[in-house]
């Protein structure tokens, strides 16, 4: 398995309407769907989100990562997808599938704290690696944009 392990990193603009309730329910739906798909496909990683963007790290077998990325590309809840990295890796950086709010809004942070806790979202993992740190910074910038 280690031979074909890849990491894919992207970030994209959020197209979900700026309606708080709709945004929260969409995030909930994405979480439910990702949990099922990613567990099945041995994909781990992290999805960072805020009102401005999604930023995601996918780790797993190449074919599964490609299939997951294709599903993501067909999702019209976001656009302007920038693929930042697609590289073979020797080990996973994220032990499970984690989703967490990342941004400056305290209200949003509180609202999504539950999701972060339930998925084991650990912001400190985002600083260990250059591309992860870059992703985190992009996400915070995009929220402000």
């Amino acid at each position: 398995m280690a031979a074909s392990m890849y990491r894919l990193v992207y970030y994209s603009r959020n197209h979900i309407a700026h309606d708080q309730a709709l945004f929260a329910s969409n995030i909930q739906k994405i979480l439910e769907k990702s949990r099922i798909n990613n567990q099945r496909d041995e994909i781990t990683g992290a999805l960072l989100f805020n009102a401005g963007c999604f930023a995601q790290v996918l780790e797993g077998p190449l074919d599964k990562v490609e299939a997951a990325f294709e599903r993501i590309q067909q999702d019209e809840r976001h656009g302007d997808v920038s693929l930042l990295a697609l590289d073979p890796i020797s080990r996973r950086s994220f032990p499970n599938w984690a989703m967490g709010f990342i941004g400056t809004s305290d209200i949003q942070a509180k609202r999504f704290a539950g999701i972060g806790a339930s998925t084991g979202f650990d912001p400190s993992r985002l600083s260990g690696d250059e591309i992860h740190a870059l992703l985190r910074d992009l996400a915070i910038e995009e929220e402000a944009a």
Binding site: Y6, E66, E70, Q73, Q74, E76, G79, L83, L86
Partner: protein
């Protein structure tokens, strides 16, 4: 037994072993209805209850929402297409029962059954193929208002490059993903078809104000998003042409209009969609007409060469003439090269036309006095055709023109692609003894590396720098001239129209001038007279 006429009397048939007409009708696997002239169902067999939920008292317009024709008019046709609320299609046979009653025999539509059969599906993507699309299109056109359907014709931008660089296996996987994305972008009632290669068509149904534009822009967005295949990151784009059914009488018109719009989308720069507009067909029609005329022009001898002199400013003598193509159209008169060369390059006719020019110029130059040079323009497409060297060698041999009297003018465009091959051809031409010049220098990339890669005999500076009397134009003119001179190349300033311009050129190290002031283009027969005229010396 004639079911249609005996049907109302279902009581007669309980004789030994023979089922009654009613039993037969009730166990018939397909739907049969009897309907009054006002469209209310008076009898529905069991199959129709199951498949259409029809009961006595149901109304035709509820069972078949798209049905607008009256039963009386439908009777005349051998069969007509009816579509149920669930979208199921039937070829309906209608018979008059008398007393204002009609029998409707509903056979599952042949179109519906065959359109999705294996043979009609594309093996690679599982999408409908051309035949299936046409069937869906014609049934959509005859079952509802034409304005409710739209076709989206699309081409992938840069697909060939992916096939060439990453191989057909990756190309095929890419086409599959494109098919998936198209299907994801469309509504389930829409039909996505692959006509071959990277050519797809979407038949959109239930179109309302603005929804065709929305779908087209969604297609452009989704198809243009990055793909990841076997670890390769792939970026392609989609160009889309959209035609809405209104005003289109036939399915082929609609597809043609979609293609016209697609052509415009590609022309406008790809990665975008264009809606069909009625002017587009006129534009393309005119272009098509010109193409037909252009294909005949050679055989009908409508081309002619004019020659414009270029003067050596150091000796004040005419060194030679540039051959300029003229098309004398029998109806439209003189058509300037700017209006037809790009078309000839697009359809490849330029190669044949170029051969004619080369041959004719060499022959005509043989009749000129002295050692006059003839300069002939060669299109970048002629380099790609791989026959240029042969064409030139043959033209020289047949005419008897010494190679040093032929000068070939190329533009930077020829050197853009496949530079090594082009340089090789230029070297072979040079080996024949032919001169090579760089035309229109200063307008394109003006890349100095081209001047370094091949030792041109001459650089022709574009007319815009001669016409401009500002300090910038003058500085550019001077720099190119001094650059060329240092490289040992002759320099021609083009478009000289006034004595003042000529005087300025003389001061800028240009070796040659060409323009209206020193001589307009003329027919080959006027050349001896022109050369004999003594006022030339006075002017220059």
């Amino acid at each position: 037994m004639n079911v249609a006429t005996s049907f109302p009397h279902i009581t007669e048939a309980h004789s030994a072993g023979i089922p009654s007409a009613e039993q037969i009708l009730e166990s018939l696997p397909r739907s049969v209805l009897v309907v009054g002239s006002e469209g209310v169902v008076t009898y529905a067999n069991r199959a129709s209850m199951v498949s259409l939920a029809a009961v006595v008292g149901s109304e035709m317009r509820d069972l078949f929402p798209g049905c607008v024709l009256s039963l009386a008019t439908m009777t005349g046709a051998p069969s007509c297409l009816l579509i149920s609320r669930d979208g199921e299609k039937f070829d309906a046979g209608i018979a008059v029962l008398g007393a204002g009653q009609f029998l409707i025999d509903l056979r599952p539509s042949l179109d519906a059954r065959t359109a999705d059969m294996q043979g009609d599906l594309d093996e690679l993507t599982g999408l409908t193929k051309r035949n299936g699309l046409l069937k869906h299109l014609s049934s959509a056109l005859c079952s509802g208002p034409a304005s409710s359907i739209a076709v989206h014709c699309l081409d992938l931008d840069r697909f060939k490059m992916i096939n060439d660089t990453l191989g057909h296996a990756v190309g095929d996987l890419l086409l599959k993903k494109v098919a998936d994305r198209l299907t994801a972008a469309c509504h389930k009632d829409d039909i996505v078809a692959r006509l071959g290669g990277d050519e797809f068509v979407v038949l959109q149904r239930n179109v309302e104000e603005g929804t065709a534009e929305t779908l087209a822009s969604r297609i452009v967005d989704l198809i243009g998003r990055t793909y990841v295949i076997h670890g390769h990151t792939i970026n392609i784009g989609a160009s889309v042409g959209v035609a809405i059914g209104a005003n289109a009488l036939q399915d082929c018109d609609l597809l043609r209009n979609g293609d016209l719009a697609l052509y415009e989308a590609k022309k406008a720069g790809r990665g975008r969609y264009r809606m069909f507009e009625s002017g587009m067909d006129a534009l393309l029609f005119a272009r098509r007409e010109m193409e037909i005329d252009l294909r005949r022009a050679l055989a009908l001898k409508q081309f002619k060469l004019n020659y414009q002199p270029f003067i050596n400013v150091t000796t004040n003598r005419v060194d030679g003439f540039e051959a300029l193509l003229r098309w004398e159209h029998p109806v439209k008169g003189n058509i300037p090269p700017l209006s037809f060369i790009s078309l000839a390059e697009e359809n490849g006719l330029i190669v044949k036309i170029g051969e004619w020019v080369m041959r004719t110029a060499c022959i005509e130059a043989m009749s000129w006095p002295g050692e006059m040079i003839v300069a002939v323009n060669v299109s970048p497409l002629q380099f790609k055709a791989d026959t240029l060297l042969d064409t030139v060698a043959t033209a020289l041999k047949r005419s008897g023109l010494p190679a040093h009297r032929l000068e070939i003018e190329i533009t930077e465009g020829a050197l853009l692609d496949d530079t090594d091959n082009v340089i090789q051809t230029l070297n072979s031409l040079r080996a024949l003894g032919v001169k090579i010049s760089m035309d229109d220098f200063g307008t394109g990339y003006s890349s100095l590396s081209y001047l370094q890669k091949f030792p041109f005999n001459k650089i022709k500076i574009d007319r815009s720098f001669v016409a401009g009397d500002d300090a910038d134009s003058e500085a550019i003119l001077r720099s190119i001239a001094s650059l060329g001179t240092s490289l040992g190349m002759a320099i021609t300033a083009e478009g000289v129209e006034t004595a003042e311009q000529l005087a300025r050129i003389r001061g800028e190290r240009c070796t040659h001038v060409q323009g209206y002031f020193t001589g307009r283009p003329m027919g080959t027969d006027q050349i001896p007279v022109f050369l004999a005229r003594n006022d030339l010396d006075e002017r220059i």
